[in-house]
């Protein structure tokens, strides 16, 4: 076997190797997903209905966007527990800023919308920046820092609204961002696709992506190789904050009001779950965003299928938990078998 590694190899072998590599990186997830899809569609006629497919994709989009940011942070060896809270904060800030701008300026909606979105994104980026600076400058573990900011961010979101939904955003915002469709698909799906593609590109083809892998893989080695650690660490948290804020804005547009209850712990845990199920190593240095996106889709489909199959809502978590563990266990098993060969 070791000789094959030394030879450049003909094109045939190359592609065989590539397929193996693909299976190794993507794992069994798509297979499992196919099983769930086929199984559910046999049992529920509505599962593959157009609307349901759109719904699944939309929900998966939100999760995928957040999980991409989360994945980058984890690959760099960190953890971002604050994403759920950032979703809420961005929602509230967007709605407040937009409503304020709309009533202050009066003029065209577009201006208010832009101001609102900028404010929302800004709040997410700011939280990310704070996380990043604490982790990189003060060398505190990402887990604890983001645990702190999670609490503080949620507190700020609630303080701003007292938990009361924020209304008064221009109708155009809800129509254009939340409910508009292109070729039958909602905007969120396109944004998610763009994010995943962009991040995949960043991971493979840019300095930033390369350094994130390096820092997570072996920080000491990255240091002695002259990689500036701080800048890139901060970058991952800012990215994660920004992407979480994006989801906050999209959700705000979808529900039509700014809500401090959007996001939350569930979103945070799900984004980590999607990243890990998508093959991101919690020890850093390993993982691909496109697989993470597939994992996000998988989790969403699973939840949808359980609903469509009329499973009692109290029993649903049991199924969800078992299938999640099963998926990763099978994946792990197959990976081990493969690398044996």
């Amino acid at each position: 076997m070791s000789t094959t590694a030394t030879l450049p190899g003909g094109p045939g072998r190359q592609s065989g190797q590539d397929i193996l590599n693909l299976v190794l990186t993507v794992g069994l997830l798509p297979v499992l997903m196919a099983i769930v899809i086929i199984g559910t569609s046999l049992m529920s006629p509505y599962f593959l209905g157009w609307m349901n497919v759109v719904n699944i994709l939309r929900m998966a989009s939100f999760l995928a966007i957040i999980a991409c940011g989360q994945a980058m942070v984890i690959i760099a060896g960190g953890f971002d527990l604050s994403v759920g809270a950032v979703v809420a904060l961005a929602s509230v800030v967007t709605a407040k800023a937009m409503a304020a701008a709309a009533s202050a300026i009066g003029g065209p909606d577009i201006l208010a919308i832009v101001i609102g979105i900028a404010a929302g994104l800004g709040s997410g980026l700011a939280v990310g920046l704070f996380n990043g600076l604490c982790v990189a400058r003060l060398k505190v573990s990402g887990f604890v820092v983001t645990l702190g900011t999670m609490s503080a961010t949620a507190g700020i979101g609630l303080l701003l609204t007292n938990g009361i939904p924020v209304y008064g955003m221009p109708k155009g915002f809800v129509q254009a961002i939340g409910r508009s469709q292109i070729l039958g698909f909602p905007l969120a799906i396109y944004i998610a696709l763009a994010v995943v593609l962009a991040m995949a590109f960043v991971q493979r083809r840019t300095l930033f992506g390369r350094y994130v892998y390096a820092i997570g893989g072996n920080q000491e080695a990255a240091v002695v190789s002259g990689v500036s650690i701080r800048r890139h660490l901060v970058g991952t948290y800012v990215l994660s904050g920004g992407l979480a804020a994006t989801v906050g804005i999209l959700l705000t547009a979808l529900v039509g009001s700014g809500q401090a209850s959007l996001g939350g712990d569930a979103m945070m845990l799900q984004s980590i779950a999607a990243a890990v199920i998508g093959g991101v190593s919690l020890r850093g240095g390993i993982g691909r965003v496109e697989v993470v996106a597939v994992a996000a889709l998988f989790l969403t489909i699973l939840g949808n299928a359980l609903n469509l199959l009329h499973i009692d809502s109290r029993l649903q978590p049991i199924f969800l938990g078992l299938i999640m563990v099963l998926a990763v266990a099978l994946d792990e098993f197959s990976r081990r078998r493969m690398s044996r060969v």
Binding site: N52, M59, Q259
Partner: protein, 333 residues
């Protein structure tokens, strides 16, 4: 805002102290004898419903000139935190404790301790086990669920109604009670069919997902009954799905429900007059401290509000004024 409770009284309630509710009117004391310390515990302050209760509490505390401190536990999943807050209240020397219980059963030990320490405790808004406390006021949630069902029945007449219920978080107690009340009341009406019950956390995002899935699972669904966030999420989901025919009913009230009702986006919502509940709780606490006569269990008359009844509603008792910011403590003058 006019922070004056004078116009609220007398407030019509059922007096259920003896077990069977009888019609009664509630009128609070003018003023407390002394500036007592009253500790208030809330499950959370994350929606306008609890802000409304807080509004009632703050207003009445000012009216009766007592000190008040309010603590919120951050959500229904934080029972241990509420228990700790209860301990902290006792430790901080409260003369009485008003509690919106996360779980009535879960606080029974604390109630017993407070009784031993002779600290009166008043239950507000959330239901409690029978006779757990010397005084309380809350609606019968089963009855309130029933009220919404009656609202639905009268709105649809003989039309077919295929309902999916979204009662709220499993394990909360109140969600189960609302649901039971609704189900019991529609039972026997052949034109109303309950297709499914979808429990889930009462946040807009979670509810939205549940609704979207239900829209797929049950194309025949034409009534969505659930919590206020359910209704809020449903408005958008129904529009997206192109199903303006679907009727939406909320089992309780908040600012969004009121706006939606005015905008014609929902059929109706129920109210239990949370502002009045908060105010009564403070008064009950003061009466207990002073050893005065107290209504052991006051039940506001839950009403279902639809377009026609909305006009006659005393909004002051349903929601806090829009520009009111929650105050977590009141200092007696």
């Amino acid at each position: 805002a006019a922070e004056d409770s004078a116009s609220w009284w007398p407030f019509p309630v059922y007096d259920a102290s003896s077990g069977t509710p009888t019609e009664a009117e509630y009128t609070p004391l003018e003023k407390a004898d002394k500036a007592y310390n009253i500790c208030v515990l809330f499950p959370h302050m994350k929606d306008s419903f609890w802000v409304a209760v807080a509004y009632g509490i703050v207003t009445q505390a000012k009216a009766e000139n007592v000190n008040m401190n309010l603590y919120e536990a951050g959500g229904y999943e934080n029972l241990p935190k509420q228990i700790s807050q209860f301990d902290d209240c006792m430790a901080s020397g409260a003369d009485a404790i008003v509690v919106g219980a996360i779980s009535g059963a879960g606080l029974t030990q604390k109630f017993a301790e407070a009784a031993e320490k002779k600290i009166p405790v008043v239950g507000v808004t959330n239901p409690l086990p029978k006779d757990a406390l010397p005084a309380a006021n809350y609606v019968d949630f089963v009855a309130m669920g029933g009220v919404t069902a009656k609202g639905l029945l009268s709105a649809i007449g003989d039309e077919e109604a295929n309902v999916v219920t979204f009662p709220g978080p499993a394990g909360s107690g109140w969600a189960e009670d609302f649901n039971k009340g609704f189900k019991d009341t529609v039972e026997g009406h052949d034109n109303v069919k309950i297709l499914d019950e979808k429990f889930g956390d009462s946040g807009v995002a979670v509810q939205l997902k549940l609704i979207q899935d239900a829209l797929q699972t049950y194309p025949e669904m034409n009534v969505i009954w659930g919590t206020a966030p359910t209704a809020e999420a449903a408005i958008g989901a129904v529009q997206l799905a192109g199903r303006p025919d679907i009727k939406i009913i909320s089992s309780y009230e908040n600012q969004a429900m009121l706006d939606a009702l005015n905008g014609g986006q929902i059929l109706a919502f129920a109210t239990q007059y949370p502002v009045a509940e908060g105010a009564m709780a403070i008064d009950q606490a003061v009466r207990l401290i002073e050893g005065k006569d107290v209504m052991k269990l006051a039940q506001p008359k839950a009403d279902v509000i639809d377009e026609t009844t909305a006009k006659d509603l005393n909004m002051d008792l349903v929601l806090a004024p829009a520009d009111w910011n929650p105050e977590y403590s009141v200092k007696a003058k």
